[in-house]
Symmetry: C2
Subunit: 299 residues, 2 copies
């Protein structure tokens, strides 16, 4: 079943204890789609500038991703981000952000509107609301960030009342609810509208809150974390891709989907940029999923 | 099968966001024994001053704990610790430590020497070595702390070459190995001698390293963390108690034991001092164990 994603395409400069790379492929919609396309048909929508390399789309095209929603601004620049990771690498220090073509509204292709599943990656809640209106029958999940919690709280709350699921990180969950304890924060977020709340805790795993109960996972244990950029979007892509593949949002399906999301995030952090997800196949994902299940097994 | 523990008895002053308590019961051997006694016969050895309340032993006596190794220094003071927790409460800020009777060597009762299992809670590695020599047939686990890594590294390494298992927290594992990544740190610690390495990550769970593979758990999700003091010792007590009850150190037994340890730690943090473990029964532990297994289940 088709899964549409709206988000960013970017060119990143990244510095981590493993090294530095400049102008590499990034953006929430790219990481999300590379993960989700291991499971299901993906429809990508994002704005891109003339400086973005055409070769970046090779893997996604091979995986059958629909790029109709890619809106090219040929004589303008792609979104650029530069960041640095230190210490436990759980959080990036943003050094610079140039929105460039991200300031333009995304294109919503007519052919995407029958998508059964929708993911609204981090962008302004008013843009997320405008897109959401055009997918009245989709099961929609949204991500957000601290900036919108500060500056667009009203629209964010309206969005939360309309989406099926919200995916956010631990810091954002605390900020949005004023609750330090993540179990309390999750319960408050559920009261704000979404049936399903997913809190990402980076290297410390994730929590799920649903009307049927709670679930938790640690992160997949990775020995060489090279570059955490895109881990959260890869998690969301693996999770949504697996849900779309299963065509099922039961508690058991959500549990499995979060474990698949965890696996996708672990593949991302092992290489700079999108290298980990580009090299991977569904077979690699399934093997790691089985290892992860064995790692956590107790009776 | 009998499990002997050597550690501290203390009187603690504790400040957390939930409140302040003064002169409450604490110490590694107390938390450990309260947890382990929910599973097996415990033999406690520790030094105590005349100021320690006799009533503190009621629960342990009821659970059949052998207190022969309690060495009373009637006109001296019990070990005192005061600490403060803020923010995510994962680490205490120590405000004051008075060793008092802890400077004396512990008593090793003749009647303890046939103990099949031995836990050496945090104390100087030379004292741990002296005790260990008197239990040549026991399966021994030891804990340690940053102080000894700094000041008694040689004795600590000798201890590590002699014990079956080492239990330590994430910061100590990093300090002892120079590896930030905990999977690498765990592998290095195994090379230093112990068959089994348990790394405690506080609210982020724990890792296990054995010759048969690795295992990981998140913490049990607790909504109201009142006082984290003793969580690590409660974890160790639950784990060792469950292992002693199972009389088995297989990978499967270790996995189960760590989940029981996690449950005991969660009971501890919900109340100040030893309140959580004192109120609990094996039935409470088993119910929470089953909830925890359900929380983590995926297929």
């Amino acid at each position: 079943m088709s899964l549409a994603v709206f988000g960013s395409v970017g060119l990143d400069d990244i510095s981590t204890p493993s090294g530095e790379v400049k102008g590499v492929i990034g953006g929430s919609a790219v990481y999300f789609s590379l993960a989700a396309s291991l499971f299901t048909d993906v429809r990508l929508a994002a704005n891109v500038g003339g400086d973005f390399p055409e070769s970046a789309w090779t893997t996604l095209r091979e995986r059958g991703t629909d790029l109709t929603g890619l809106q090219l601004f040929a004589d303008r620049q792609t979104f650029r981000w530069s960041g640095k990771y230190q210490g436990d690498m759980n959080e990036a220090q943003t050094l610079n952000t140039e929105l460039n073509v991200l300031v333009e509204q995304p294109l919503v292709p007519e052919s995407y509107r029958d998508s059964r599943y929708l993911f609204l990656a981090n962008m302004s809640p008013d843009t997320q609301l405008e897109i959401l209106e055009q997918f009245p029958r989709a099961v929609a999940f949204a991500d957000t960030m601290n900036l919108w919690i500060d500056t667009s709280r009203e629209n964010l709350e309206r969005l939360m009342s309309l989406v099926y699921g919200l995916v956010l990180n631990d810091g954002e969950a605390r900020m949005l609810t004023g609750e330090h304890n993540l179990l309390k924060a999750g319960a408050k977020l559920q009261q704000m509208g979404p049936d399903v709340i997913v809190i990402k805790k980076g290297e410390h795993g994730c929590f799920l809150f649903t009307p049927d109960g709670r679930f938790g996972l640690p992160a997949y244990p990775v020995e060489n974390v090279v570059d955490p950029t895109g881990a959260g979007d890869s998690f969301a892509g693996g999770m949504m891709g697996a849900l779309a593949e299963m065509e099922n949002f039961s508690m058991d399906a959500l549990r499995r989907a979060m474990a698949y999301g965890t696996v996708c995030a672990s593949l991302t952090v092992e290489k700079f940029s999108t290298g980990g997800l580009e090299e991977s196949t569904r077979h690699v994902v399934n093997e790691r999923y089985n290892e992860f299940r064995e790692f956590l097994r107790f009776s």
